[in-house]
């Protein structure tokens, strides 16, 4: 494998654990978590116990939870094996769906008919992806269905902010699926990732074209390299970016590499 993200993640986790348990709040990007410690503690204790009780049933497939001492017990553990990759995709689709739901609930001023059609379609596609993963991943192995998002850096009244964020999310989604393909063991799951990633790429091109029509930006040189290849990012690289918008801590350290 050309990627080694496990070390990076371990370091990030340790940092998160430090900040949460040693209460160095200012070092933690997870501000929202700090604001709701009691409710989350209660929920996760219950959730963890429930998963532990049913974990034996899925042993060998890829457990969502394990007893790794390095794990942050507060974090949603994506798990291992193909299930881990599915949970990883589920987390990203939850983020995208939440974003477009908000975009269409509070449309920016002057949203054109074309923009509304495209952004409305994207909302539906990402909801379909999200709901698919929710149905496809066994409940016992699945991360929570309502990851907390933090969109405080996005101005939903601003076309530039919304389309700029959409562009970043779609490009990130493409790179995430492209990078995760080689981590998938089951050919059926790889096929599913392939069915979804090209739709994300279609989205990315359309959003980029809205921002800069009749230009090369739909597949610009900022994202496509000299070999004509699109982006590919490791889960650690993707989550480092997506983490800005997902306030629920995520533990990706058990993903395949």
């Amino acid at each position: 494998m050309p990627y080694d993200y496990s070390l990076v993640l371990k370091q990030k986790e340790l940092q998160t654990i430090k900040s949460q348990f040693i209460m160095k709040k200012e070092n933690s990007p997870e501000v929202d978590f700090i604001h709701q410690p009691i409710g989350r503690l209660g929920f996760l204790k219950f959730s963890g116990a429930a998963v532990a009780a049913t974990g034996l049933l899925v042993a060998g497939v890829g457990c969502k939870k394990d007893d790794d001492d390095d794990d942050n017990p507060m974090a949603e553990d994506l798990g291992s094996g193909d299930i881990g990759i599915l949970n990883y995709a589920y987390a990203l689709e939850q983020l995208e769906a939440a974003f477009y739901i908000q975009v269409m609930a509070t449309p920016f001023a002057g949203m054109t008919q074309e923009e509304a059609q495209i952004l409305g379609d994207l909302k539906n596609h990402e909801i379909a992806h999200r709901d698919f993963f929710k149905a496809a991943i066994p409940a016992a192995n699945r991360i929570k269905d309502d990851l907390a998002v933090n969109f405080s850096s996005i101005d939903f009244n601003s076309r530039a902010s919304v389309l700029g964020t959409a562009k970043a999310f779609e490009d990130l989604g493409v790179a995430a699926y492209n990078g995760a393909g080689q981590l998938i063991a089951d050919v059926q799951y790889l096929a599913l990732a392939g069915k979804i990633v090209s739709v994300e790429a279609r989205h990315a091109a359309a959003i980029r074209d809205l921002l800069n029509p009749w230009s090369a930006d739909f597949a610009g040189n900022d994202i496509i390299d000299g070999n004509g290849l699109d982006g590919a990012k490791t889960p650690a690289q993707v989550l480092a970016i997506a983490g800005t918008y997902i306030s629920t801590p995520i533990n990706a350290s058990n993903l395949p590499s």
Binding site: M1, P2, Q117, I118, D121, N124, H125, E126, I127, A128, H129, D131, F132, K134, A135, A136, V174, Y177, N178, G179, G181, Q182, I184, A185, V187, Q188, Y189, L190, A191, L192, G194, K195, I196, V197, S198, V199, E200, A201, R202, H203, A204, A205, A206, D209, W214, S215, A216, F218, A219, G220, I224, G226, N227, G228, L229, D230, G231, A232
Partner: protein, 278 residues
């Protein structure tokens, strides 16, 4: 050279054009006899791309594709990239493209030529032999005039890009275990999808269609009827063991169909590509 020979053989394949259809109307149609010849002419490695049973015979115990299979897949991809690269090279130099759309097609042209170079180098790095480019006839025997009529150029561009997306998608499983190659193939696959989205929307901007960047159902929009083979199967609603995904979401059937692109087998792809190969 193996793929070229195959494609040359395919060039002799006789298709079942009915007498009542014009060549243009039948151009993407292929009869059962044609399919049989197509299948017979393809090497095991390429056929393995689509058949689970054949795949099992050509994969190692560890589940990774053999180098021979990987090279066959790369040569299959290279053949499609030759087709696309030459199509856009000729389109850009012909002057048929509207000035407003030139920046888009110059970028697509660059990518397809980059893909030819990249695949050629990759095949050589695996000690394989890259196939030569077939000789193309983008009029498909006079059915289209892509370098004279801009509408024809745009129509074929959309058909080629949407086919390209489905072609790479259909090969991913054949590259499982060959991590670097699989990743690169996925990276090309998503570039083709960006192209497809852009070309589809350009056709709408040019007033030729109402197509969106994504494929709704199995609709070919206003493309000629024979391009239906490019879109057949895209209406699929069965995903990942869920018989009908509209049962697990509030999203409409059309939205669900748009949300998942579908693969084509190598045989299906070659049946389309061969129509433009002399």
């Amino acid at each position: 050279m193996k793929m070229l020979n195959i494609l040359e053989k395919l060039g002799d394949t006789k298709f079942d054009f009915s007498q009542t259809n014009t060549r243009r109307e039948s151009i993407f149609s292929i009869g059962q006899s044609g399919k049989a010849i197509l299948t017979a002419a393809l090497p095991l490695g390429v056929i393995a791309a689509t058949g689970a049973s054949a795949k099992a015979n050509t994969t190692s115990v560890a589940g990774a594709a053999s180098t021979a299979t990987v090279i066959d897949v790369l040569n299959f991809a290279l053949t499609l990239e030759y087709l696309e690269a030459q199509f856009y090279n000729m389109g850009v130099t012909s002057g048929v493209i509207a000035n407003a759309d030139l920046a888009v097609f110059n970028q697509i042209r660059q990518h397809e030529n980059d893909h030819v170079t990249f695949l050629t180098n990759t095949i050589e790095s695996l000690n394989g032999t890259p196939v030569n480019s077939p000789i193309f006839d983008f009029t498909a025997g006079g059915a289209f005039q892509p370098f004279v009529l801009y509408g024809d150029f745009l129509a074929l561009a959309q058909a080629f890009e949407d086919t390209g997306v489905r072609a790479y998608k259909g090969q991913a499983g054949n590259l499982i275990g060959s991590d670097a190659i699989l990743t690169a193939a996925l990276q090309i696959h998503s570039v083709e999808a960006r192209h497809a989205s852009e070309v589809r929307r350009l056709r709408t901007k040019n007033g030729l269609d109402t197509s969106k960047g994504w494929i709704t159902g199995n609709s070919r929009g206003t493309l000629p009827a024979p391009t239906q083979a490019v879109y057949d199967g895209e209406q699929n609603l069965s995903q990942g063991g869920i018989t009908n995904i509209t049962s697990i979401t509030t999203v409409s059937a059309a939205g669900c169909q748009e949300a998942f692109d579908e693969p084509l087998t190598d045989t299906q792809v070659l049946a389309i590509a061969n129509l433009f190969i002399v």
